[in-house]
């Protein structure tokens, strides 16, 4: 429905319609995907710092043999919390909550997610779950059975305190946020793409996040079941995991790793998506083998569901099972290798400009290769049976989870910084921050391969002299301090440039995807005109961008009659209807609060109170849906 006026008048009207409530209240009630993305970003960076401090404490305890900095109880809580924080409260939420939320609607030419209020709910639940989990540390009862929390150590008999209850309930609560985000992403990518962006024209970044979301939908339930069954064993006296009652401790391991392995692909896929965004921009060419790469991204997520028991090769599984899981673990190398060589070939055949974002991607590639190669070694069952549960595996997963998953996040922070802030970071400091982080990562984690081969098990709070581990541990600890400096330099560069960086326009890097069409920072409504799309590299289609300018003057696809966004068909993205979107709402933070109280009272064992707050949550949901969107 076109409203009368010129292009400038339309823009002014859009600005008024999409204006956000000012001040703190505006941030609390926001449903704008960009604000929610920033809320996630700041929260996850705080939690990253917490996980990092935990790591530095662990490494300092291990700087020399028989060190007494940390008691074994403190050490065990710290390494557990380090793992839980980094996986559940940093890398996943920053990838999907910060990067995914901020960028997905922009990249598909939409004005917001399919469910903006549910998006806000995800954030407030995430924040509440982080506070819930860290309360355990504040009261000195942090989870202490490792991030994968094996039974019977985590059962009531051997862990009688509330530590493990914090773990179970905190993760179930946290999982709700991730599930809701996954639902939001899938529906947004199915129904919210700009008209003309058929599935095969969706950017690779979006394919990666689609794969992540589908994986989350199917991977989180086994974890939730594992956690619920453990809580039932602990609180109600069921016998899922105890042998005497007919249960099996390996049931926990199967359920956990059926979640846990797809989880690591969930961790790495956003990194792949960021890499496939940065590489074309800085090599000034399209990605080599685009359809193969898109397919590979989906295949990694899919095959990732079939390999879980490679975490259990030392448990005495029947030979046929170990051989099967070894085979599939080798098969999954192929889609990763496809992507790797697509990136390398694009780098080689393009004209790469090795600015900071691309440097971080090159660092990612190097670390991904190392981590991937050690991963392939683990698929060789007898070798796994020697080095699993040693520092060799600690090396492997830090190369893939830190080196390969975090470096693209750092590169992405630099890359999209001008878009989000409208200013440019310092390039020389950026390059230095890369080299320091790269060196720090290499020096911290590479020697772990060696000390693992020399027999050092993981999760030990100290070690004796004379086993050949001393020098290597010292080097690793010093490396971790260097890494901390590199990361602080990244943070400082971005923090200072936020206020003092040179102002830039919409598209300082000549990017290919639609977020570069929006202003820097984007207006609340993202685009004055829903963009015209006819390829996966819309910003490099000058004709389509000219068409948008003409559409603005004609009032076509401006959608300024209300708080509007289009819905399109799933495969071909043909325009289907115009939807009225919600604006600021108090219900998401309120619902997060009532849900949080449910979990608090489950933790304290006050079942009736918990049920009362569950009822309150239902009431809030009712209030949320009471007012319906206006008919367009």
């Amino acid at each position: 429905m076109a409203v009368i006026g010129t292009g400038a008048e339309r823009i002014e009207r859009l600005g008024r319609i999409w204006e956000e409530r000012p001040g703190v209240l505006g941030w609390i009630t926001t449903t704008d995907h960009k604000r929610i993305g920033l809320l996630y970003l700041f929260t996850t960076l705080v939690l990253f710092a917490a996980g990092g401090v935990e790591a530095l404490l662990l490494r300092t305890q291990l700087i020399k043999a028989n060190n007494g900095l940390l008691s074994p109880e403190a050490y065990n809580e710290l390494f557990t919390l380090h793992g839980v924080t980094m996986v559940f409260f940093f890398v996943i939420p920053i990838s999907i909550g910060a990067f995914g939320n901020y960028l997905l609607p922009l990249m598909i030419g939409a004005r917001d997610m399919a469910f903006p209020r549910m998006n806000a709910l995800s954030f407030w639940i995430f924040l509440a779950s982080g506070i819930f989990m860290y309360t355990s540390l504040a009261i000195g009862d942090a989870p202490d059975a490792g991030w994968f929390n094996y039974v019977p150590l985590s059962a009531a008999r051997f862990s009688p305190g509330p530590n493990i209850d914090f773990y179970c309930l905190g993760l179930i609560f946290n999982g709700i946020a991730s599930t809701l985000t996954a639902v939001n992403f899938i529906v947004t990518m199915f129904k919210g793409r700009a008209p003309g962006m058929s599935m095969n024209r969706m950017p690779l970044f979006c394919f990666a996040f689609l794969a992540v979301s589908l994986a989350l939908v199917f991977a989180l339930p086994p974890l939730n079941v594992a956690l619920i069954l453990l809580e039932l064993d602990r609180q109600v006296g069921t016998h899922f995991y105890d042998v005497a009652g007919g249960g099996d401790p390996l049931l926990w391991q199967h359920l956990f790793w059926i979640f846990g392995h797809p989880e690591v692909y969930i961790i790495i896929l956003p990194a792949f998506g960021i890499a496939t965004s940065i590489i074309p921009t800085f090599t000034h060419r399209r990605m080599v083998a685009f359809p193969l790469v898109a397919l590979a991204e989906i295949l990694v997520a899919l095959i990732g569901f079939g390999v879980w028991a490679h975490h259990m090769f030392a448990t005495g599984l029947p030979a046929a099972e170990t051989v099967y899981f070894s085979a599939v673990s080798l098969i999954i190398v192929v889609p990763s290798a496809i992507q790797l060589f697509a990136w390398l070939t694009t780098l080689l055949t393009g004209t790469p400009d090795f600015q900071t974002p691309l440097l971080f991607i090159v660092g990612f590639i190097v670390f991904f290769i190392i981590g991937g190669l050690s991963g392939v070694m683990f698929a060789a069952v007898p070798f796994d049976q020697q080095v699993t549960d040693t520092y060799f595996v600690v090396a492997h997963f830090h190369f893939v989870i830190f080196g390969a998953a975090v470096f693209p996040l750092l590169g992405g922070l630099y890359y999209w910084f001008p878009k989000v802030t409208g200013r440019m970071y310092s390039e020389p400091v950026g390059k230095l921050s890369f080299w320091l982080s790269f060196a720090g990562t290499a020096i911290t984690f590479f020697p772990m391969h060696i000390v693992g081969l020399l027999g050092m098990p993981r999760r030990v709070y100290t070690y004796p002299h004379g086993l050949g581990w001393d020098a290597t541990n010292l080097i690793e600890t010093l490396g971790s301090y260097l890494l901390a400096v590199g990361l602080l330099m990244v943070a400082a560069n971005l923090a200072v440039s936020r206020f003092r960086g040179k102002r830039v326009g919409r598209d300082p890097f000549d990017g290919a995807t639609l977020e570069w069409e929006a202003s820097s920072p984007p207006k609340p409504y993202n685009f004055p005109v829903i963009p015209t799309v006819s390829s996966p590299y819309p910003m490099w289609d000058r004709r389509d961008r000219k068409k948008d300018e003409r559409k603005l003057e004609r009032g076509e696809m401006v959608l300024d009659a209300g708080h509007e966004t289009p819905a399109t068909t799933v495969v071909d993205a043909e325009l289907d209807e115009i939807l009225e979107m919600p604006s600021d709402s108090p219900w998401p933070p309120l619902l997060a609060l009532t849900l949080a109280l449910v979990f608090v009272f489950l933790l304290t064992g006050h079942w009736v109170t918990a049920v009362v707050f569950a009822g309150a949550s239902a009431a809030v949901l009712g209030a949320w849906h009471w007012k319906e969107p206006e008919e367009a």
Binding site: A314, G316, A337, G455
Partner: protein, 334 residues
């Protein structure tokens, strides 16, 4: 895969010298066939991995050198060729390498590291994991000890690995892979030592507060020395002879030690802590945490929580005389 064909010899020796500790717990100084085969597999995988890594680094380096030119060096910018590169390096080569790795590791090497066939071993020992020590039994005898296992060298020994509480993992890297000790399961692993010696192992599955101090020794003895050791282990405790020892024996009962520890041949039958019947034959205490020397033993009795915080032995506030007597008694348990 015997030593003769073990990888590029120069690389292996040089790296091994650099990387290896002095015996100890390393996977790179194997002392049995299973560990040897795993080690050889590792060196070959390292070679392959290095080739791949250097190749990829080379591509990155080339990309940097040729950053002002489009297309591949010499061959130019051809879409088909680019795709072929991706398919070749991304699919064909990984498939080939992985098939080879799969076949070798899971059909050749795995045969060596699997649980030994029942008829193929000469003796069986039971190792039971506890928080945080190893109970060791020799079925067919009444021998029970803790933390320091003796086996005859060059003999196939079947280890039955179980647990009394949480999941532990039995691991002696120089002799074989690790095997988890899981409630309700009787996992088995082969222990075979090529030559006499002392091999160190450690629990390899996080099992609680003192997981970091749950190590063990495997002593591979010449056969007659082993037989003598076993005979001694099976015998009940030596009766105390000197006065100090007798006082210590009485203190042992009076100070409630017997509620947790067993000394066969006496009325002490506790099962919470390690069997102490022949404590004086062990080289270490508290699962290799401290040496078995008079001063260390006394220190342990005075304050076990200081030595190994969180372990199950409480501080008993023993008087100095009691400690002296107990030490004398325990030192007599040869």
């Amino acid at each position: 895969m015997r030593a003769r064909t073990a990888g590029p010899p120069v690389l292996a020796v040089a790296a091994a010298t650099l990387l290896a500790g002095c015996g100890g717990q390393t996977t790179l100084e194997p002392r049995s066939r299973p560990a040897q085969e795993i080690s050889t597999l590792w060196w070959w995988m390292l070679v392959a991995a290095t080739v791949v890594f250097l190749g990829a680094l080379g591509m990155i380096g080339l990309a940097w050198l040729r950053r002002r030119h489009e297309g591949l060096p010499l061959l130019g910018n051809r879409k088909r060729l680019n795709l072929a590169l991706v398919v070749f390096f991304g699919i064909a080569i990984p498939v080939a390498v992985n098939v080879a790795l799969f076949v070798v590791s899971n059909f050749v090497v795995l045969k060596q590291t699997e649980a030994p066939a029942a008829a193929s071993t000469r003796m069986t020992i039971q190792v039971i994991g506890h928080q945080w020590f190893w109970e060791v039994r020799y079925p067919g005898t009444s021998a029970v000890t803790a933390n320091e296992i003796h086996i005859p060298a060059r003999t196939r020994v079947n280890v039955v690995a179980t647990t009394a509480d949480v999941i532990h993992s039995f691991w002696v890297p120089q002799l074989n892979r690790k095997i988890d000790m899981i409630p309700g399961r009787r996992n088995r692993v082969l222990l075979y030592a090529d030559r006499p010696g002392r091999y160190r192992g450690q629990c390899a599955e996080f099992c609680g507060t003192q997981h970091g101090h749950m190590a063990l020794y495997v002593f591979a003895d010449p056969p007659d020395r082993f037989r003598a050791w076993l005979a001694n282990m099976a015998a009940p405790a030596r009766a105390p002879s000197a006065a100090a020892e007798r006082t210590g024996a009485q203190a042992f009962q009076a100070d409630a030690c017997a509620s947790c520890h067993a000394i066969r041949g006496t009325s002490a039958r506790g099962v919470v802590g390690p069997d102490l019947t022949h404590l004086a034959t062990r080289t270490t205490l508290a699962a290799l945490t401290i040496p078995n020397r008079r001063g260390d033993l006394a220190g342990w009795l005075v304050d076990p929580q200081h030595v190994k915080p969180g372990n199950r032995m409480p501080v008993l506030n023993l008087g100095r005389n009691d400690v002296k007597a107990l030490v004398a008694y325990l030192e007599s348990l040869r």
